[in-house]
């Protein structure tokens, strides 16, 4: 393996409908925040990794040009990573490899999205080719509903139980979000409100779905030498994993979801993790849909297949549970797509360095961050440790 890689700081913006700033100004908020939080000078960075979800979301293509100045990238090498919804984690992974390769000692990694400037589902539809799948896939909710049905059917989980567990997940996360200063949707929900909410794509209802958020996240990745020199509280990258499967939605099984299993396995192997539920202290799972979060618990080995609903209802994955998942409120409450995965990494880094404030999981030393993308196709995982 390559040289040790540290995360020495992060900066997130306030999320929501951010029509108080233009897109580059929003990115600037996150970049300025990471330099302010760390006291590092932008001149000292060796390179920049930038990314958003599809450029067409905001109607500006190849946004690294547009953001060149706010990314502090003028006169510096840049990489522009984009892997659909998993962009955020792919950005962090790019930062990791850049440092691990020995070609840089300090790299700025920035993800952003201004979803309210475009039409997210119309954009998502353009991910799907126009001669076959586009007719049938109703944006992201359509894909995830089908996956949920496949999963609950495969393991014979009663629809009512899935509903009950999903309701628990969304109530918990919207409540958790109150403690995260960057979260977008913060709300005290009741089971009735959730269960009777408008159907988006059956069985998914309004509160099962993440919002459209505007926001950005910036992080600094450093070599061991640089991290020591800086003397900042650092999270260390212990493992990275990423995997993707066929483009055609019907080609691979989505219940026992191989690319999710593989991504986690790669990261665990690298980090030497044998029993994730025991060894991990916190997980920031990419959960744009309640149902999918539970499916991930199973694919990531937090529990056996078919078991997640029961464990959710027992509180195993809640803030006070055995393995707290998404104490930040997760993607379900805050979703600026191109930044979302990076937010997960930033949150995991805050947790393992004890800097998560009101939503700190006490004593967290090992955390998982994750993002998903494509037509239910890509999963990326990063494991961060306090040493």
């Amino acid at each position: 393996m390559g040289r040790p890689v540290a995360i020495v700081g992060s900066g997130q913006t306030r999320h929501g409908r951010r029509f108080d700033v233009s897109y580059p100004e929003l990115v600037k908020e996150a970049v300025d925040a990471v330099f302010e939080n760390t006291g590092i000078s932008p001149q000292d960075i060796d390179g920049v990794v930038s990314g958003t979800m599809p450029s067409m979301m905001e109607g500006v293509a190849l946004t690294h040009f547009y953001f060149a100045d706010v990314l502090r990238s003028v006169g510096k090498p840049i990489l522009k990573t984009e892997t659909c919804g998993s962009t955020g984690v792919s950005l962090a992974i790019t930062g990791y490899y850049w440092i691990a390769s020995g070609l840089a000692d300090l790299v700025l990694v920035v993800g952003s999205e201004k979803m309210n400037e475009g039409d997210s589902q119309a954009t998502m539809t353009t991910v799907v080719e126009p001669f076959y799948q586009r007719y049938f896939i109703a944006g992201a909710p359509g894909v995830f509903s089908m996956q949920c049905q496949e999963w609950s059917n495969r393991f014979g989980i009663a629809e009512e139980k899935v509903r009950e567990a999903a309701t628990r997940v969304t109530i918990d996360h919207h409540n958790d979000a109150f403690d995260n200063p960057y979260a977008h949707i913060k709300k005290k929900l009741t089971p009735d409100e959730v269960n009777n909410a408008r159907i988006i794509t059956y069985p998914i209802r309004l509160w099962d779905v993440c919002p459209n958020s505007d926001g950005a996240c910036a992080m600094l990745f450093a070599s061991e030498k640089m991290a020591k020199k800086l003397g900042l509280k650092s999270a260390w990258v212990k493992g990275v994993g990423y995997s993707g499967e066929e483009y055609w939605f019907g080609d691979s099984e989505k219940a026992i979801w191989q690319c999710a299993i593989d991504a986690a396995r790669q990261a665990y192997d690298m980090a030497g993790i044998k029993n994730p539920r025991k060894e991990l202290d916190v997980a920031e799972v990419y959960n744009p849909f309640t149902y999918q979060e539970m499916l991930y618990y199973e694919c990531f080995g937090f529990c056996d297949f078919g078991e997640a609903c029961d464990l959710v209802l027992q509180g195993v994955f809640s803030r006070e549970g055995e393995l707290p998942c998404d104490p930040s409120g997760g993607t379900l409450c805050t979703n600026p797509i191109g930044a979302t995965g990076l937010n997960r990494v930033a949150e995991a880094a805050l947790q393992v360095t004890g800097q998560a404030g009101a939503h700190q999981i006490p004593g967290a030393k090992l955390g998982l961050a994750h993002a998903m993308g494509g037509v239910d196709q890509f999963n990326g995982v990063m494991i961060l440790g306090s040493e």
Binding site: F19, D20, M56, G59, D119, Q121, A122, T125, E129, P130, F131, Y132, Q133, R134, Y135, F136, I137, A138, G139, P141, G142, S145, M146, Q147, Q149, E150, N153, R198, I199, I200, T201, Y202, I204, E246, Y247, W248, F249, G250, D251, S252, K254
Partner: protein, 156 residues
């Protein structure tokens, strides 16, 4: 400078024209639909029957040259009732998108389920079950597109 919650907003709509080449395999597949045939292909290495027809196996990474007519009946693996609409949506809600394992094939075919009233989700939930048998219903007029199959409908 005074801070406001919102400032000027420019509204715009972009329309970018592209032209996509089907190539030989999709051309043949859509010609099949015109003749009420659904073509798949069999990978010589893993022996899976893939549908729609393919020019290569994504897993074995070998070329595929055959076309096999596959069954027009199959089993519902998963389904979703879509109730919302967004800009430029090609199929108007409500509709049921579904993964269907056509008999004798090894992957799921994506299409619609229909032929009954979709206005009431409760009724839909009682009508459509995972594991149920469905069969293709064809449009009278065929254009050589995926929508030549109107939808898959429950087999009585």
């Amino acid at each position: 400078m005074e801070k406001r919650a919102e400032y000027d907003v420019i509204t715009d709509e972009v329309a970018i024209p592209y032209e996509i080449a089907y190539g030989p395999t999709w051309t043949r597949f859509f010609e099949g639909l015109k003749n009420e045939k659904i073509y798949g292909s069999k990978c010589a290495k893993c022996n899976r029957v893939l549908v729609p027809a393919r020019s290569y196996c994504p897993r074995c990474f070998v070329e595929i040259k055959n076309f096999i007519e596959v069954a027009q009946e199959g089993t519902v693996i998963s389904w979703v009732l879509t109730e919302y609409e967004y800009f430029g949506m090609p199929t108007k809600p409500p509709f049921i998108g579904a993964l269907i394992k056509l008999d004798g094939t090894d992957v799921n075919f994506l299409h619609l389920i229909g032929g009954f009233d979709l206005s009431d989700p409760e009724h839909v939930r009682k009508t459509v079950k995972n594991g149920m048998k469905v069969k293709a219903l064809w449009n009278d007029e065929k254009k050589g597109t995926i929508m030549d199959i109107k939808y898959f409908t429950p087999v009585k």
